[in-house]
Amino acid sequence: MTSLPQSTEKSLGLVIDLDTCVGCHACVVSCKEWNTGAYGAPLSDQDPYGADPSGTFLNRVHTFEVKQPEKPAQVVHFPKSCLHCTDAPCVTVCPTGASYKRVEDGIVLVNESDCIGCGLCAWACPYGAREMDQAEKVMKKCTLCVDRIYNDNIPEEDRVPSCVRTCPAGARHFGDLSDPESGVFKLVEERGGMDLMPEQGTKPVNKYLPPRPKTDTAPDLDVLGPLLAESTEGAGGFFGWLDRALDRI
């Protein structure tokens, strides 16, 4: 068992906009290429050119269909990585202290030199956000690119997680969710940002912005209603209207 800090100085995390994510997997691969050459062990791939390739990814996009009565079915693309929970069960379950939550910024990390690969944390995480690397037998997880966000070798504007920097649709946002002045805090306020599976009591830092209500059935806009003034069904029909319109130019 490992203890969590009483509090953290910041709560860095991601805000992911499900109304904007097109499911392109840019974040998935950008995460993979950064992190396979960065913090800790590489992210390995087994059978990469064979029958059933599989590998370690710290971020994956899942796709769901949502069926609703009387409405067209919807498709939701749902990117998922570690949510850097305030009450992270993956930390408290760790027998060696390898899993920990940083006091400085709330990032949940694995100290790989202390990780014995027991897998308890992956079992404890209700989100399935941790992956055991099959080559190195250590537990891998999202680091929020801790080696990018403070990195003096990277231009200041790029000191964000790789997934955020690359997202083509701008669906991923990074910042301090404990700071009411931060962009991410405000986004969550404005858009009704949600916790993933709040009933688990993990208090995730990452938030999801729900899809805006679809207007598959939009408010009734009647051609013969608000736009009636221009109706061509009057005197002279369409061409009568056309002449009047030409005269107004």
Binding site: G23, T36, G37, H77, T96, N111, D152, D222, L246
Partner: protein, 938 residues
Amino acid sequence: MTEHISPPLDLSPPVSDEIRQTTCYMCACRCGINVHLKDGKVKYIEGNKAHPVNRGVLCAKGSAGIMQHTAPSRLRAPMKRTGPRGSGEFEEITWEEALTLAADWLGPIRESAPQKLAFFTGRDQSQSFTGWWAQQFGTPNYAAHGGFCSVNMAAAGIYTLGGAFWEFGAPDWERTKLFMIFGVAEDHDSNPIKMGLGRLKERGAKVIGVNPVRSGYNAIADEWVGITPGTDGLFILALVHELLKAGKIDVDYLCRTTNAPVLLDADGMFARDADGKELVWDRVTNSAQPFDKQGVKPALHGDFDGLTPVFGKLAERYLSDDYAPEAVAEQCGIPSDTIKRLAAELAQAAFEEEVVIDQPWTDFRGNRHDKMVGRPVSFHAMRGISAHSNGFQTCRALHMLQLLLGSVEVPGGFRFKPPYPKPVHAHPKPHAGVTPGKPLDGPHLGYPRGPEDLLIHDDGTARRIDKAFTWDAPMSAHGMMHMVISNAHAGDPYPVDVLFLYMANMAWNSSMNTKGVMEMLTDTNEDGSYRIPKIIYSDAYSSEMVAYADLILPDTTYLERHDCISLLDRPICEPEAVADSIRWPVVEPERPGHEGVRGFQTALIQLGVKLGLPGMVDADGNAIYKDYADYIVNHQRRPGIGPLAGFRGDGTESGRGAPNPNQIEAYKQNGGFWVEHLPEAAQFCKNVNMDYQQWAADMGFYPSDKPEPYLFQLYVEPMRKFQMAAEGKGDHQPPEHLRERLKIAMDPLPLWYAPYEETRIDVADFPLHALTQRPMAMYHSWGSQNAWLRQIHGRNPLYVSGDIWQEHGFKDGDWATLTSHHGEITVPVVRMDALNPKTVWTWNAIGKRKGAWALEPDAQEATKGFLLNHLIHELLPAKGDGLRWSNSDPVTGQAAWYDLRVRIARAAPRPQTAPDTGAQKNPVATGPDELEYGKEWT
């Protein structure tokens, strides 16, 4: 309780030793990338923030470039076939041997019959170069892959607007309030569309997706219109009907910038004055006046001495009840109330939410405008509406809708990127004048103005092997690559001796009737020789097509090569800026232990030198360009105009200027690209804006070197010329069997007709539509060799609508047999409800042949993956008239992939999808059992 310990961390590790900036080629998007190198090895690839295309973002493909660059499937040396075609048995040879062999095959042809070379390129981004090479060789048989891609979209755009969607324009993402996207999964313009959608969401603009399948962009659309495939044109014309009926059209815009007021004579040709200028009827002077006269107030309907304005004809057609929402609803699979509401929403956004920019500008009539007025409605469309046999007219219908709303080239609407828009008359005509031993008489591809421009012999036979620019497909502006193998095999219109292909997987996912094409490539004459005698192929990877070629010229990966993304080709501009870019070898093309690879364009120059082609050798027969980079810098199309427009002359000149020996270095210093912004007054209404026109002429965009203002063409006169010929008028007459079809297809105003395939079969027997979508994380076949991307899309089940699923009693894990008029496949199925109820679909090009792409023979792509292509024939079902009717659009020859009709039946699960196309031997490396990329740095 273990106390938590925060071990010290290195928060500022060096990222890399060096960053090199070049252009991505993981798809056709051409984003700027920063390639981080450590210890000489690629460590990390990210988007270039300064780049006009992607402004820093990068898609999954781009980020997976590392795995493409290191893929075991990379070719390593030139190869000569040793086993039978299709076997994959090769011996490696030297470049000298390879180029000599190619020259030995091609030299004699050039001297006797240059048309016996068919040179077709696939996802080629150097068409202005490869086309020039083919022209210098003298064969008429050259094109890239546009004919099986989206030529309907391209040609309809050029003939109507002077430019197409594709990446030749963009919605005004910052101002548009309603965006409607038709038939686009992942397609041109890849990242800019994602960025734009994100911006629309941020701004609260409404997004409407029209697509049978609700994937990707359609998943986040605020409204999804799950249209029945092939009916988009009908739906669009119903929107037009409603807008006309409600008087919700931009009459002023139509008068100023389109040919709506141009007068038609009794033949439906434009009335012209003695100077050849189109006439309009001036309501002030009650007389016919040239369209460009200052102060004319044109009439839009009526009969003036037997002359009638285009618009009168247009209005009469679409006000007909045939186009009423109630008349089309069932066929389109869209309730009539929805069609009416969508028309009202378009009208609402266009006319009630007008956008005004306080920017004065001057039009070509000399009228000064103090502001730019915009209709904030924009559209985008690609393959989904294009890849049908009624696709050209459907694309035209969409452009007509845009024009009626006044939303092209205005704030908030759809805008072109320089050098577009550009009128048809500033584009070349097609050429096929062959003289043995000499260059062709002009560029291969172009835009015919009428039947006189067709490429046919006096006896009516085709001059080109693909029969482009014949009565079969008069406006086939991109050629018809999908017909080349079939026609060469049939010897129709004539046999070829050498088939030379680049970067086109024609033995697999890029051909219709894949199994049939494999048979054509291996078919022999009575003496045992191949029907298609010699095949040269260039690719960077061990694709299926490699196995079917006799001689392989191995290309580099995109990180190892020089390229130019040229204004002479498909530029990377933005609506407000002109831009081009380069690729350069950010890593050297090393293939230890093997002969090595060369950029295809460099190999082509070297082959040209061996053949002594004009423009490639001087009077003494010495090479003018030592490689492609040398060509990029020093080649001039016209004096001062070369492949790259930036940093010319002394390095400060743009557009025009003498070759600059330091040009490539200047591009590298600038991040791999060059960009220059348009003057403020030139940014909208470009077709009629003299500030833009003068700037464009100065840049060298027009062959005339003069401004070329023009009207958008609601009514396309060249089409009327073809239609008149079909009616029996004029000297150039079509063959009898095509008359009736041309009368309909060449209508100068948009119309809808049923896709051809369903008119040749019993629809009750094939009740379903079947199509493919391109996944965002894959680009055709290229993704499957990529160890990371194939973990995302390694399988492609057939997605079946809920209605079909229930009707047939499918269960999870089931398989199905899908049958078309031509073939049968047996594949795994998965239910999907966000899908048009009459449609099944799958991801494009996931299935692979065993042994290809250096995958293991039991790779999931080869056992569970499949191609829909086996069901699609390049010809329509036979009519019993003995003629071969191409499964293509009758105007442009665009391959009608999405006309496919099928039936479905449950099938027992099996270990392998059917048909099984056998295996090819892998001629390259095999991959490792495990990857730990970057281990040395962690």
